[in-house]
């Protein structure tokens, strides 16, 4: 085996020394660092829950009718894709938004925040869209969402985890227009999907 040189350059030696310092510090404080990492992981899980629970607890619960989507993409394994009457609103129908959906105008519509003004239906149980606007209403219930493309508005309530064997039941209810989504909505329009209801 040829003799190898073991004289790394000065800059490399300094970098290695610095790394040694950090590793030595980690060794001495190993227990604290690992404990800190565990606490961090718990906080990540807790914050995921807190973001949702705060909406569920503080928000008002409303019922929105779920409309059918392309059946080929409706049921993706464990998740059902949900769509609502306002999910595919064209740009021309969004108050205050330029109707041009082309890429030239993309900076005006891509990831733009929009608001769906809601009003209760005559049955007093369900809610439906009054209008979609780039401005929120001063009073009343509304949903806050994002534009992701022409006829593609998302509000964070488009996926539902389906218990095993239940997917087709929801699919059929959706096709028959008998499916509603129980949504918790906060005062600032943030929505969380709580449950699906087959009527």
């Amino acid at each position: 085996m040829p003799e190898t040189t073991s004289h790394p350059p000065e800059a490399v030696r300094r970098t290695m020394a610095w790394i040694d310092l950090v590793l030595a510090w980690l060794k001495v404080h190993e227990r604290a660092v690992l404990l800190g990492a565990v606490v961090f992981q718990i906080l990540v899980l807790a914050s995921m829950i807190a973001m949702r629970v705060s909406t569920l607890v503080q928000g008002d619960t409303i019922l929105l009718r779920v409309v059918p989507v392309d059946p080929r993409s409706m049921f993706r394994g464990e998740y059902v894709t949900l769509s609502y009457e306002f999910s595919r609103t064209p740009f021309a129908a969004i108050e205050g938004l330029s109707p041009d959906p082309s890429d030239r105008n993309k900076q005006n519509w891509d990831e733009r925040t929009v608001y769906v003004w809601l009003q209760p239906e005559t049955d007093g149980v369900h809610w439906h869209m009054k209008k979609v606007s780039i401005h929120p209403p001063t009073t009343g219930t509304y949903l806050r969402g994002t534009v992701f493309g022409p006829r593609r508005l998302a509000f964070g309530i488009e996926s539902y985890f389906v218990p095993e064997g239940q997917g087709h039941r929801y699919e059929q209810a959706m096709r028959d227009h008998h499916l509603s989504a129980e949504i918790a909505v906060t005062a600032d329009g943030k929505a969380t999907l709580h449950d699906l209801r087959v009527e």
Binding site: T5, H7, I19, D20, E30, A37, V38, M48, S159
Partner: protein
């Protein structure tokens, strides 16, 4: 000092030898006892084996019980209230880590604790997806992988096991792939989405750097071998994403291979840390050249698409290579006592690093060649030139690997070079003469390959003989 382990059969042999040496007067009785006293007795060995067997049995029992609990929970999961599900998730994660701490710090079981911590990290990741399912989260799902990786990072750098580095690398690679390939139109993230910046997983090098530094400082070639393909994956994704015209990525893959081979040559000669870079670099180059050596492949590539020369990614890769050469030369001052000038060191580095540099320039040249000739409707000429150059490069790569093996006195690169040369011969035979030679031709081909391998093995054996004399 603790007694060293010794298998009973070896202990019996040692006792017999010591007895002979004592009889011959080589060792005294006291010396024999002191030597035997350094090693555990047969009874201690048997006791430890029994203890280990019990541990294994208990581990299997615990795994079966754990599996039973998982199945029980899984079968009732849907009917559980959300609160119970959450308590289970937190309980299992916290309980696993508590067990890990107890084993590591109370029972001094370092290896077992590392396995338990790995399990804890896996359960944390499962917890992220389970919480998302429970609350029907419709968020940007690659974020879950990023937070998972961030949670695993401290464990990887604090503990001694490559398993956690493997988990971290797998998570970062999956995250980068899903982010860049699945959400390229989303805009880069920096405390919010910025449409002006592309979505190219900027934080991957930051998250990989601690593990990389750990691997170098611990001289863990295995761990470096985990991070090198991650880096290669990220660089290839960058070039694919940053192109603003349609170009063929096969040349980029080859050029990235050349860059990694160059990084290998930037290490001190004989440094084992160079091996992962050379291994993956050679894989990428060898695979790319093998494809490009077929005229049929080169003819079919431009069909249906106008391919641009791919100047931006190639320019970046060539510039990176130049920087590597420059910095290697600038930093190598210590190895010669600082007596040589920078131009002299550059010439020295060039002598060692020119093969991978040539590979990078070849890929850049081929990309340019195809990008310029195809649009002017000369794809035939481009295909012929590419095929000839790729074949020459394959032979060159084989020779270079053989040279490395001879230079570092290592059989693996030497054998790899020989095998790659034979592969080239086989591919050319199949490509050019496969339809004509028939069974006789194939027989001759295999005979020649076998004879070549035999000759090479004899050469290597003869070369090693003087060092064993």
């Amino acid at each position: 000092m603790g007694e060293k382990r010794l298998a009973p059969a070896v202990r019996a042999w040692l006792r017999a030898e010591l007895s002979d040496w004592r009889t011959e007067g080589i060792l005294s009785g006291e010396q024999v006892d002191r030597i035997l006293g350094r090693y555990e007795t047969s009874q201690a060995y048997a006791s430890e084996r029994q203890s280990m067997a019990l541990h294994v049995l208990m581990g299997v029992a615990a795994s079966l019980i754990g599996l039973a609990v998982l199945l029980l929970v899984g079968s009732n999961w849907q009917s559980m209230p959300k609160a119970v599900k959450l308590m289970l998730i937190f309980g299992v994660v916290i309980g696993t880590y508590a067990a890990g701490f107890h084993i590591r710090y109370q029972r001094q079981g370092r290896m077992l604790s590392e396995v338990v911590f790995l399990l804890g990290c896996l359960l944390y990741g499962s917890g992220i997806w389970l919480v998302a399912q429970i609350f029907h989260l419709n968020a940007h799902y690659p974020d879950g992988l990023w937070w998972w990786a961030l949670g695993v990072l401290p464990f990887a750098v604090c503990l001694e096991t490559p398993l956690l580095h493997a988990l971290l690398v797998a998570l970062l690679a999956t995250w980068a792939g899903t982010e860049i390939l699945g959400f390229r139109d989303l805009g880069g993230w920096f405390f919010g989405r910025w449409n002006s910046f592309p979505n190219v997983a900027y934080t991957l090098p930051l998250l990989a750097l601690p593990g990389f530094a750990w691997a170098y400082r611990k001289s863990s070639v295995l761990t470096v071998a985990l991070y090198v393909p991650l880096l290669a994956w990220w660089v290839i994704l960058q070039s694919i994403f940053w192109s603003w015209a349609d170009f063929n990525p096969v040349y980029v893959v080859g050029a990235v291979g050349g860059l990694f081979a160059l990084l290998a040559e930037s290490h001190q000669s004989g440094n084992l840390m160079a091996i992962p870079y050379r291994l993956y670099g050679v894989f990428l180059i060898a695979g790319t050249l093998s494809l490009l050596s077929f005229h049929g492949f080169n003819e079919s590539m431009p069909n249906g698409n106008v391919r641009s020369p791919g100047i931006p990614p190639m320019l970046v890769l060539v510039s990176l290579s130049a920087l590597v050469v420059f910095f290697t030369a600038a930093l190598s001052r210590a190895s010669d006592g600082g007596s040589s000038t920078l131009p002299e060191r550059l010439r020295t580095r060039w002598r060692q690093q020119w093969p991978p540099i040539a590979m990078i320039l070849l890929m850049a040249g081929l990309s340019l060649l195809n990008g310029l000739l195809v649009p002017i409707e000369s794809p035939g000429l481009a295909a012929v030139l590419t095929t000839i150059l790729a074949n020459a490069a394959m032979v060159g790569l084989a020779m270079w690997l053989i040279h490395i093996g001879l230079r570092e006195d290592r059989g693996a690169p030497f054998a790899a070079g020989v095998v790659y040369f034979l592969l080239w011969s086989l591919l050319r035979y199949i490509d050019l003469f496969g339809d004509f030679g028939g069974m006789l031709g194939a027989s001759l081909m295999f005979f020649l390959c076998g004879a070549a391998l035999f000759g090479v093995a004899r050469f290597w054996k003869k070369r090693k003989e003087p060092s064993h004399a």
